[in-house]
């Protein structure tokens, strides 16, 4: 760059003028005169409120998504027996058991007669459910 000034710098006088201008500009920039106009402050703070509201809403959504699944007694029990499929199997077995208890199939009765040596339904129910006879008598009947 061509410059007739020594070292390419501005002359002392011009430099002093410029420095004085900078000093004045600096004073004004950092003084009360550069305080934000009220309307601008209001706009800026309205933006801040909107951002806070936005972020609060996002946080709520995130928390809802990340909320841990409640792990109560019944859920733990279900998990321990193998989950929902196991529960379905258990339900079927329970219904089948109740049905067999109420209306025992003929084959089952015959088999029981053979094994247990009894023919009466009452005896069968005695065997199935509550043994109301004396333990000693039962032992005798068995021989």
């Amino acid at each position: 760059m061509t410059d007739d000034r020594k070292g390419g710098g501005v002359s002392t006088r011009a430099e002093a003028d410029l420095d004085a201008l900078f000093a004045q500009a600096r004073t004004e920039a950092h003084g009360e005169q550069m305080a934000l106009p009220e309307a601008l402050s209001a706009r800026i703070l309205a933006d801040a409120d909107s951002v806070l509201a936005e972020q609060a809403a996002q946080t709520q959504v995130r928390r809802a998504r990340q909320a841990p699944v409640r792990s109560g007694f019944w859920r733990q029990l279900l998990t321990s027996i193998g989950g929902t499929p196991a529960l379905a199997g258990l339900a079927v077995a329970t219904v089948a058991g109740i049905w067999v208890g109420i209306v025992p199939p003929a084959g089952l009765q015959a088999g029981l007669q053979t094994v247990m040596g009894t023919t009466g339904t009452d005896d069968l129910f005695d065997i199935y459910f509550v043994d109301s006879s004396d333990v000693f008598e039962f032992a005798q009947s068995e021989g």
Partner: protein, 194 residues
């Protein structure tokens, strides 16, 4: 959290408070940082309304980044000066070729000074702004940050993402160009030859 003594709280800490949902922190940050942003934008753009829009936009970006702000990694002011500089540069690029409106040159006279002195100060400030408007964007940015905002070269280097030597070069060339612009108006500006 109550901000009983906001001056004792760093910009970083205020930003964290804001990110935690404290609107009072935004008020303190706006009062503290807003004027600096406005001053920088005003000097960069030479236009009041645009400078205010840039100030609003820069602070909006600050609010948005608050939740991700990592304390101690960067100064909030440095980050804000950089955002402001970039926003100003974008606007200057958009209006490239346009001539700044003299009516919009900042009016910042000292209200307690005598009228003729006020007028002279205003004329000088207007002349400085007009001369700044003639500088290339990067030179103007460096000169404003160095000589009006009073930042050190390392911080300016960080803001402009250039080396300290490049900052020195830009400010030196900027000052020289400003001096040339103003030299022709010395008499008009009331400077007396020694």
């Amino acid at each position: 959290m109550a901000l009983d003594d906001p001056d004792a709280i760093t910009d970083d800490a205020l930003l964290v408070l804001f990110a935690n949902g404290d609107p009072a922190a935004a008020r303190v940050l706006t009062t503290r940082l807003g004027p600096r942003v406005l001053s920088q934008a005003w000097r960069m753009l030479g236009e009041r309304d645009e400078a205010q829009d840039v100030t609003q936009e820069a602070l909006l970006r600050l609010w948005r980044i608050a939740p991700d702000w990592r304390q101690g990694e960067a100064k909030v002011t440095t980050w804000l000066y950089r955002v402001t500089a970039n926003l100003c540069t974008d606007r200057l690029r958009r209006r490239r070729g346009g001539v700044p409106d003299i009516e919009d040159v900042p009016e910042m006279a000292d209200p307690v000074a005598p009228v003729d002195e006020q007028m002279q100060q205003r004329t000088r400030m207007d002349a400085l702004q007009e001369a700044l408007n003639q500088l290339p964007d990067r030179q103007r940015q460096a000169v404003v940050l160095r000589h009006i905002e009073g930042l050190g070269n390392p911080e300016i280097a960080e803001i402009m993402e250039i080396s300290t030597e490049a900052v020195e070069s830009l400010t030196a060339r900027g000052k020289r160009a400003l001096s040339d612009h103003l030299a022709a108006r010395r008499e008009e500006l009331g400077y007396q030859d020694d």
